[in-house]
Symmetry: C2
Subunit: 457 residues, 2 copies
């Protein structure tokens, strides 16, 4: 792109665009990075510089950017229908995708309700659960429980079950009341895995808190929502699968819906197609988005059991309809893309590759041991790895908030051709499934150079 | 499509798909209509039957289905970037679209914040308004006002400012408290326009209620949200532009944000590019979606004044960041489509055509006079026309709710090759901009045949 056009665009950006989750003053002196091309694992800026998209463009991209089969699927769908409404009407990609999803998610889910993004998928789950209990004659089951450090989206219903105070506290007066339970996140790691004692302790304490809550209040609780295996936005906190298994038992015993938010972790990111598989658990409601379209465009789905569906199925006059819908519900383009992505998973044996890459990623974690003065909690699951920066790692003394170490590292990483988007002082990879072992090696090397330059050795 | 495939798909639909805003039992005996092709103003089902999409696929479609320039825009964008994250990064279609939007909306709006659908555009507006007052030292301005019969989406924040009890009442315990003010909707119409007295009376009463509310409580009110000119989901209630003008004055006088939800009415539907233009009014926050992408795929934008933006612009450490964002914020495909749609508006002089078609639509309203025993409140604005079914129209005696006249009419209209989607007993057209006068004539004739067959003469 020529320099004048680049300048013009960046000036317009500064003048007209309010970027998400961004203190715009951070970009007073420097520009947003203008991306001109995306291909595979790489983004290219307006000057032709190449960057590794190690965060999968906010955890959405799956098969790499611009996968030819995805592009063809869009072109094909455009020859049939563009968007048509999904109430009273239906279409092949919407039907086939629903059918295919039911075939791959944990067994026991029966119905698919589409929406547009992760936040709406969560809102749908909350509203379905809430309304379900009214229909079965237990309207007093009207509250929700959520985990500390959890993130389920930014619409006010989703924020109400959010546990990241930095994002959520401001809006407290607009939120409904919900029960916060402790996070089962592990904080003692060895070779990227929780130590046995740390795992057991974190699960036991977190489960006991849920048990006490349910014991006291399950009569008033509709559901509990959880990000299985990784609390992503909450600084990539990971927990053992045993937590999910035991949580499922508690939910069954106390008749509380288990709502699994696999918006971030779904579609292979944690090494299994869905994170719930690692605990052999089926939730009552399952929220999907992001990777659903391989990261191409917005689409979401909330899956539920037939039992929940049937509580709404009645004569119209009983007013049991689930009155929820979005204009673009079941967008045929997005459904066609999602279907093609699932076919790519099969045809290209993507999960085999994910397993290989995940092992390679784990094998490379010891590299970060060189920085153990400032880095701790090196952890990994599937294509996700994370660690935390400290002023003094052995004693876990944090850097002062105002130092914004993560932000500085992000800027430095760009100079190294790496897109790292720290969450506070937590640095992480969230790799797309197309990552090769060679690319992984290069990414780790570059990361170490960045750490080195910033004086973290 | 061959019969076996059709049957298979419809069986899967019934088994796997939960459709939005639908009592699924309504489809126990009959199928959802399986659409196989969409072109211009027409949808085609699996048997090749053709239907007029007179509701623009839930009010989204603008230039007709499958517009070749829109398809090309998608193909072109796919050669550059698919989705990339919009935090820290930016891209040409996102920038150019923001710049173009600011150029066409009512003057005084400065910044564009993208999201994915109408509901999230509203949530963004509410959260921005709420947080703004905190930043300027007036945190007690934390409540919202909304209109009776209004609809702003289905996420819980949007539902909290919703005034359609059928949709919203169930969720009351999950909603924040808000002030409901009367609708300014006119109920006395002649030749599709409000009678002078009815217009004056409806505006005066509704404005007086707002004035009283603001007089008593403006200190606690952050903003008031309104669907300019047409309360669409609330049964296509229309109000005079004078209401908006006077509401703007009250908002300015009492320092309350005016939030205009042009998600349905924006992009030409009411005869002007934005409905606010008809009152010469600029809101503090403007919500756009649906027609933004010409109805192709999800995208939304919340526009605000520079004044609002600046209240968030500060050093990071002050924690004034607007912590809101969606994974697919500023999706480049959707932005490229939206840009192309705006270029089509210019190149094809779409608003000239809209004016012609709107006049033609108005000229045809007297046709419905033949059904004056059962039809009243024939009203029209731009490409939207509506009327209400009554058991006895002159006395406005309604049909019993349980008769579901609207639903029956929908089914009958399908047999006539017409997609009508009544809201309760309100029948309406929400025509795409590509509608020709010949097509309009055919649509009106078919509608009259349906009314005739159902015995409404
Ligand atoms: C005026 C208005 N606001 C908001 C919405 C919600 O938009 P979405 O369905 O995309 O969430 C709608 C949708 O019908 C609408 O008509
Ligand atoms: C676990 C989880 N839930 C929900 C969401 C919200 O999704 P969206 O950004 O599409 O609204 C996210 C997004 O980051 C997420 O990570």
């Amino acid at each position: 792109m020529d320099a004048a056009l680049k300048r013009e665009l960046l000036d317009k950006d500064r003048k007209r665009v309010w970027h998400p989750f961004t203190q715009m003053k951070d970009y007073a002196e420097q520009d947003h990075l203008l991306i001109e091309k995306a291909e595979g694992l790489y983004l290219y800026d307006a000057d032709g510089n190449r960057y590794y998209d190690t965060v999968s463009s906010w955890w959405v991209n799956v098969h790499g950017h611009g996968h030819p089969r995805i592009k063809q699927a869009i072109a094909r769908q455009l020859e049939e229908t563009d968007h048509i409404m999904f109430s009273g009407f239906t279409h092949r990609p919407g039907i086939e995708l629903a059918d295919k999803l039911i075939g791959i998610v944990p067994p026991g889910l029966g119905k698919v309700f589409y929406s547009d993004n992760g936040s709406t998928a969560v809102e749908v789950a909350l509203k379905m659960s809430f309304q379900y209990w009214r229909h079965v004659g237990r309207p007093e089951k009207a509250k929700f429980a959520f985990l500390e450090h959890s993130y389920h989206g930014d619409t006010l219903g989703a924020v109400s079950v959010g546990g990241v105070d930095l994002f959520h506290a401001t809006f407290r007066p607009l939120l409904f009341d919900a029960h916060r339970v402790p996070s089962p996140d592990v904080r003692d790691w060895a070779d990227g895995r929780p130590t046995a004692e740390a795992a057991e302790a974190s699960v036991a304490a977190a489960i006991e808190a849920v048990r006490r809550l349910f014991e006291a209040s399950a009569d008033e609780i509709a559901g509990i929502i959880v990000e299985p295996m990784i609390q992503a936005a909450g600084s990539m906190r990971m927990h053992p699968a045993a937590y999910l298994a035991q949580l499922r038992e508690l939910c069954t015993r106390y008749d509380v819906h288990l709502i699994a938010d696999e918006i971030a972790v779904g579609f292979g990111r944690t090494g299994t197609m869905f994170a719930c598989e690692q605990a052999g658990v089926t939730p009552d409601l399952l929220c999907l988005s992001k990777g659903l379209t391989a990261g191409m465009m917005p689409l979401a789905a909330t899956l539920c059991t037939d039992k929940i569906y049937e509580a709404f199925y009645d004569d119209y006059e009983t007013l049991k309809t689930f009155f929820h819908g979005h204009s673009f519900t079941g967008n045929p383009l997005a459904c066609a893309v999602a279907l093609e992505s699932l076919r790519i998973f099969e045809d290209e044996r993507v999960m085999d590759r994910v397993r290989t890459t995940s092992e390679a990623l784990r094998a490379r974690l010891p590299r970060f041991g060189e920085f153990s003065r400032h880095i701790a909690n090196v952890r990994q699951l599937g294509l996700v790895a994370a660690f935390d920066l400290y002023e003094d790692a052995p004693s876990r003394r944090a850097y002062p908030f105002t130092e914004r170490r993560g932000f500085k590292l992000y800027l430095e990483a760009l100079r190294e051709g790496l897109i790292l988007r720290p969450l506070g002082d937590t640095i992480y990879y969230w790799l797309p499934h197309c990552t090769t072992v060679e690319q992984l090696d290069d990414i780790v090397e570059r990361t170490c150079r960045v750490l080195e330059r910033l004086g973290y050795r």
